[in-house]
Structure formats: C-alpha cells, structure tokens
C-alpha cells in the first residue's frame, strides 16, 4: 500500500496537481477523540462531534470524490486509554485524522501514536504548549488556543492596569502546569511579582483551603491555572469566602462559556479571561452558532468545539486540494492555504503546527447587562495572533529551521 501511495504521489506530482486523486481504502475517516463523560465533556464531548458533522456536511459528505466518515470515542482523560483508541483507530479502522483531544497528558500520548503512524492530529481542546514545542510533529496542528496565548494576553492586559502581584491556584496535571509556567513567566516579564502558588489534585471538590492560602498571600490577583469543573468550583467558592469583596481579583487562564454558564452570572461577573471564540462575537459567529445550537439542545458552542469545526473544515479543504489523504502531504497543504472560517480570517499555520489566530480579552457581564440565554461576555480587546502566541524560535520544536 505504501508503495502504491508513493507511486500515486509521484504520478500526482508528475501530472502537476490533484488530478490523480489517491485516497487510501476509498474513504476519509476522521475520529473525534475527547472526554465524553468526565469534567471536560461539556467543553468538547458530543458538541465537538456535532461541530465536526457540520463541517463534513458543508462538504456534502464527500471529499475528492470519496465519502467522509466520522467516528468518535471517549478517552476518559486517561493517556493509556487515549493512545489505545488512537492505535486501534489507525491500525484496524483506517482512521486518517484525529481531532480535539482535550486533557494535555492524554493528547501527548495520542501524539506519540500519530507521529509514529504518520497520521494527522488536529488538537482543539488541550492547552499545553508542548505540542508546538519539544513534542511537535509534522502531522500535528494545534488549532484553537494554548496556555501561552491565554496567559500572555490576559496577564499583559492586567499588569498594565496595575495588577502586579499574583498568586496561582494550579491543577496538578500537565496542561495546568504549563498554564502556571507561562503565567509566572508573563507576570515577571511584565514587571509583576508572583507571591506564591498552590497545587490541587484534578477533580477537587473543596477549594476552600487553597483559596484561604491564596487569600493569605494578599496578592492583587488570584490566577486560576486549571480548567473545567475545577475552575467552576474554585470561582463559586471564592465568592462564598468573600475573596472578591475583599479586593482580590480572580483571573481564569482557561475559561469556557460552559464554565460561566455553570457558575452563573451572579458569581462569575467581572471575571476577566482570554478566549479565541465567542458565539455572539459578530455576524459570522452568530450565524454558525445558531445552527449549532439548533442541533445541540440550545447549548452555545465552546471555543474548543468551534475549533473542531474549523480544523475538520480546513483538513477537508486540504485533502480536496492535495487529492490525497497522505498525512505529510495534507499537513503541508494545510499549512500552505490560509485558514478561513467563521472565527478565522486568513490565519496562518506555522511550521511547528501552531495556528496563529487572534485572541480576545473578555469580561463576564453582570446579570443586569445580560439580555438573555448565553449572553455572557463583553469584548475588552483583541490581541493579534503574532503578539499572542509564543514565537516559533522560543518553542524548541525540532522541525523549525530544518
């Protein structure tokens, strides 16, 4: 099969383009791999599958004349489970590309499989910068955001306003460590000071003890370097302990709209954070999101879910253009054509696999400002992608400079 591939590829190149379409086993198979039952299930989960379906339907269910098939599975936030599914999908089911994969540790496990097997991996859910740093691979694309861009945009904005002492409340897992590391670096770079950090286990119910330690530090800002249910519980309980009333501000380094929904505007109001996508941002995002909400029980899409749509759409465009599902060729094509969808405007994909997209600083509305369901954010500012993301030279990706 491999020889056939190379032959076809050679033929394709000889013919000067996608005329000799070569799709192995006659279908394009895309696997949505994420948490479908645990604490990240609402920010990705079935919603990501719905988003991927919307992208496939936009292509009429076919690309380069061949049908597109979607599969999905629950990786349970366990690296071993995630890698086993990826292996099975690729070896047995002929899956060509895997998307989403929140929970950085699991995504790193899956990445080692896709790198070994040379398949596309388009990450939307996970936050670690390692995917475009020391663990980068030619077939990996990091789509929606990363911890560096989130921390960078948020921290710079706040330190500039005089919020120069920070305390980090950090989840004890790979993605959150990465958030904390980036957060600390930016605070110090911007001239602020980090007074302390405390780490809590994943899936913590009671944050009071950590919050009191944060309170004792007397920092102006408490940075939440965690995600999902952990962020929600931390913010709810901070309100209970009067932390915001006593003058400290909470800043989320990774907040999704589902988190704000779950906290409720009363406790979440005033929270400042960075996201790459908000459903009610402009005409284009609204139009797409309305379609999504119709199909997903009225729930607004998260940035991770919007990213899955964008990634699948762009992947299909590249397969169409390249006329093959060979991952190295497709990945190269994906990096050649500009990224365009409802929340991407001619964005580039760098050699290390980073989609350089604009990021937005948001603030959660007060209950009085909100006009209806899911009307939660106001935009404070936009950070151009080039300023938001880590420069390629600092990531240490071995692919760069080759």
């Amino acid at each position: 099969m491999r020889i056939a591939f190379i032959a076809a590829l050679a033929a394709g190149i000889a013919a000067g383009g996608p005329a000799a379409a070569q799709i192995s086993d006659g279908t394009i198979k895309i696997g949505v791999l994420n948490d479908r039952s645990g604490l990240y299930a609402d920010l990705g989960g079935e919603g990501s599958v719905v988003a991927a379906k919307m992208a496939v339907e936009e292509f009429g269910g076919k690309v380069a004349g061949k049908p597109v098939v979607l599969v999905s599975a629950d990786h349970q936030n366990k690296p071993d489970v995630g890698s086993a599914i990826a292996r099975e999908w690729i070896d047995r089911d002929g899956v060509d590309a895997i998307v989403d994969v929140p929970h950085s540790a699991t995504a790193l496990g899956v990445l080692s499989v896709t790198r070994e097997k040379n398949r596309m991996l388009m990450l939307s859910g996970p936050a670690s910068t390692d995917f475009t740093g020391k663990s980068c691979a030619p077939t990996t694309i990091h789509w929606t955001y990363d911890s560096y861009a989130m921390a960078n945009s948020t921290v710079r904005g706040l330190v500039k306003q005089g919020a120069d002492t920070w305390f980090f409340l950090t989840g004890d897992n790979a993605g959150s460590h990465s958030q904390e590391r980036d957060g600390i670096a930016f605070v110090e770079k911007a001239g602020g000071k980090v007074l302390g950090t405390v780490r809590h286990p994943l899936n913590t119910l009671d944050f009071s003890s950590y919050l009191l330690q944060a309170q004792a530090s007397k920092s102006k800002i408490i940075g939440l370097a965690n995600a999902g249910g952990d962020t929600v519980n931390a913010i709810k309980q901070a309100a209970e302990f009067g932390i915001v009333q006593s003058g400290q501000r909470l800043v989320g380094l990774l907040i999704f709209i589902t988190d704000v929904h779950s906290i409720g505007l009363k406790d979440a109001q005033g929270l400042v954070f960075t996201e790459s996508f908000y459903w009610d941002q402009d005409e284009k995002t609204r139009a797409w999101s309305r379609k999504f909400m119709e199909r997903f029980g009225g729930r607004a899409p998260t940035a991770a879910q919007a990213g899955v749509y964008g990634a699948v759409l762009h992947y299909l465009k590249a397969v169409e253009k390249a006329g093959t599902d060979d991952s190295l060729t497709v990945s190269k094509t994906m990096k050649e054509i500009p990224v365009n969808d409802m929340f991407s405007d001619n964005f580039k994909i760098r050699a290390d696999g980073r989609v350089v997209r604009d990021m937005y600083l948001f603030q959660v509305k007060s209950p009085a400002e909100s006009k209806g369901a899911w009307d939660y954010y106001k935009i404070l500012g936009r950070v151009p992608g080039d300023e938001a993301y880590r420069p390629m030279s600092e990531g240490g990706c071995p692919l760069v400079g080759q």
Binding site: S37, D42, P201, L205, L212, G229, G242, S262
Partner: protein, 295 residues
C-alpha cells in the same frame, strides 16, 4: 481581614475549621451508608448517585417550581427517600438471601444508570444554585472568614448525625430495629412488621444522602458527577470507622475531614489520597475498622 493569616498557628486553625466542614459532609453521607449496612447488610453503592439526585431535586424545585432552599431541605430528602423505598421494594428485597456482593452489584448498576440519565439530560458542567438569602455573608473570626452557610452546614449535619445515633442506639424503635437485624423471625413473632421496618430504614438512609445533596448544592456545582466524586472517599470513611458502626461513621467522618484539611496545608498534592492511605493502614492493623465489631 487577613491580618493573622500569615502566621502559621492561626492559619492552621483556619484549615482545621475547614476540615471540620468537609468532615461534616463525610459524616452525614457515611452515616446513611452505615445505617443501611448495619441494618440491611447491603453495601449501598447507589448512595453517591442518590446524593446527586437530592441536589438535582433541589435545583429542579427552584428552577421549575420556584420552591427555594428551605422547601427543598424538606422535600428533596422525602423524594429521595421515596425513590429509595421503591428501589428496596422492587429490587433490593430480592437479594437479601444471597451474598452481599449481589446487592453491591445491583446498587452500583443503579448508580451508573442514575448518573448516565442525569448526564444525558443536563450535561456535566453542573447547574448554579444560589445560597439562600438568610445564610449569605459571613463572620470574620480573626483567623479566617467563616461563610455563614458553611457554619450552618456543620451545625445541621452534626444535629442530624447525633439525632440519628440517638434514635438508633437509645430509643425503643431503634431497639426493635437492632433486634430485627439480629433475628428477624423472632422479632416478627412478637408482632412487629419487619419487612416494612427494613424498607423504611433503607428509605431513611438514602434520605440522609438526599439531605446532604441539598446542603451541598449551594457550595459545589449541582452536577451529575458530584456523587461519584465523593462516594469513594465516603466508603473509605465507613471502612475506617467500621462497617455498620454509626458512631464510627460520625467520628471518622469528622476526623478524616480534619486530617484532609491538614494535608492541604502541608502537602496539597496528596490531599486526595491521604484518606486511602489511612484506610490501608487501618485495614492492616484493625480489619474490622476503628469502631467495628468482628462479625
């Protein structure tokens, strides 16, 4: 308000108080488990799920019927207790004569079904539930800020725990109940309806879980996963205290809450496992648990 928080002894005191608050949740949940195990010999794996149902009933009452916290505090345990009665009458009852393991498997399956159904309907992110107006705000104790609601949780659960202990160990009804578990045939011969008593005991045990759910709703998110996050710890509490020992469940629940609080100060990363380390040690040294009797 944090003038003393920098000083270790006072900070420690704050953490101990927080531990007591968590401990009172553990106590309330493990109490229900202990009552059910002690009287029915059923390892009720559905306890966490029913705690979650209690919280959801409170949320549903508020969002759909406009019934607030105080109403929910009475209604939700009744609803959960009624669910428990139905489960006991229709399913659990058939398993009393076979090995404990079957009851464990049945209730575990029920827990998965409850969680799955709520997850399907409401997602995992959880629903917001406000703190009732009367219990808003807090008091500055000098060494920490105590939210009024947390104080209320400690008081309410201690009251319920002690009341339950008293009812079972010190009243005539409790004596009947204990006698019925020792020798059901004989107690029945005295004209007491043992099956009804056993059903009511199960209903009461899970109603305690429902009550804990309502108490937890304003603090944690009301989420389908809230029970499974907690149930394992609570089981460890029951094992450490001694399966079926009511006083053991209460004392161990509070004690472990305190210990967990201390761990969060000295080595936060280990706070999730400290309970299980203690469980392992206790099982090796005293397999029946700290307050348990050898059976």
């Amino acid at each position: 308000m944090s003038q003393l928080l920098g000083i270790p002894p006072q900070a420690l005191f704050g953490q101990l108080l927080l531990g007591l608050i968590n401990g009172s949740f553990y106590a309330l949940l493990s109490l229900g488990l202990a009552v059910i195990f002690g009287m029915l010999n059923v390892v009720n794996m559905a306890h966490g799920a029913l705690y979650m149902v209690g919280a959801f009933v409170a949320w549903l009452l508020l969002s759909h019927a406009g019934i607030g916290y105080w109403g929910a505090l009475v209604l939700a345990p009744l609803v959960v207790g009624a669910v428990g009665l139905v489960l006991e009458r229709t399913m659990l009852r058939r398993l009393y004569k076979v090995d404990h393991l079957y009851g464990l498997l049945l209730t575990f399956g029920l827990a998965l079904i409850f969680e799955g159904a709520f997850r399907h309907q409401y997602g995992v992110s959880g629903q917001p539930y406000p703190i009732p107006d009367l219990l808003k705000g807090g008091t500055n104790l000098g060494f920490m800020y105590l939210p009024t609601y947390r104080g209320w949780v400690v008081a309410a659960s201690l009251l319920v725990c002690l009341g339950t202990w008293f009812a079972i160990e010190r009243t005539k009804l409790g004596a009947y109940l204990r006698a019925a578990t020792e020798n059901p045939t004989l107690v029945q011969a005295f004209g007491i309806n043992v099956p009804v008593m056993v059903s009511l005991t199960y209903g009461f045990g899970v109603a305690l879980a429902g009550l804990a759910g309502v108490l937890a709703a304003p603090i944690y998110q009301v989420s389908p996963l809230m029970g499974s996050n907690l149930i394992i710890v609570v089981f460890a509490v029951v094992v450490i205290g001694g399966m079926g020992s009511i006083l053991g469940a209460i004392v161990t629940g509070l004690g472990l809450g305190l210990l967990e609080g201390l761990t969060k100060v000295f080595y936060p990363e280990a706070s999730n496992i400290v309970v299980f380390v203690i469980m392992a040690v206790v099982l090796m040294v005293k397999p029946a648990g700290l307050f348990g009797r050898e059976r």
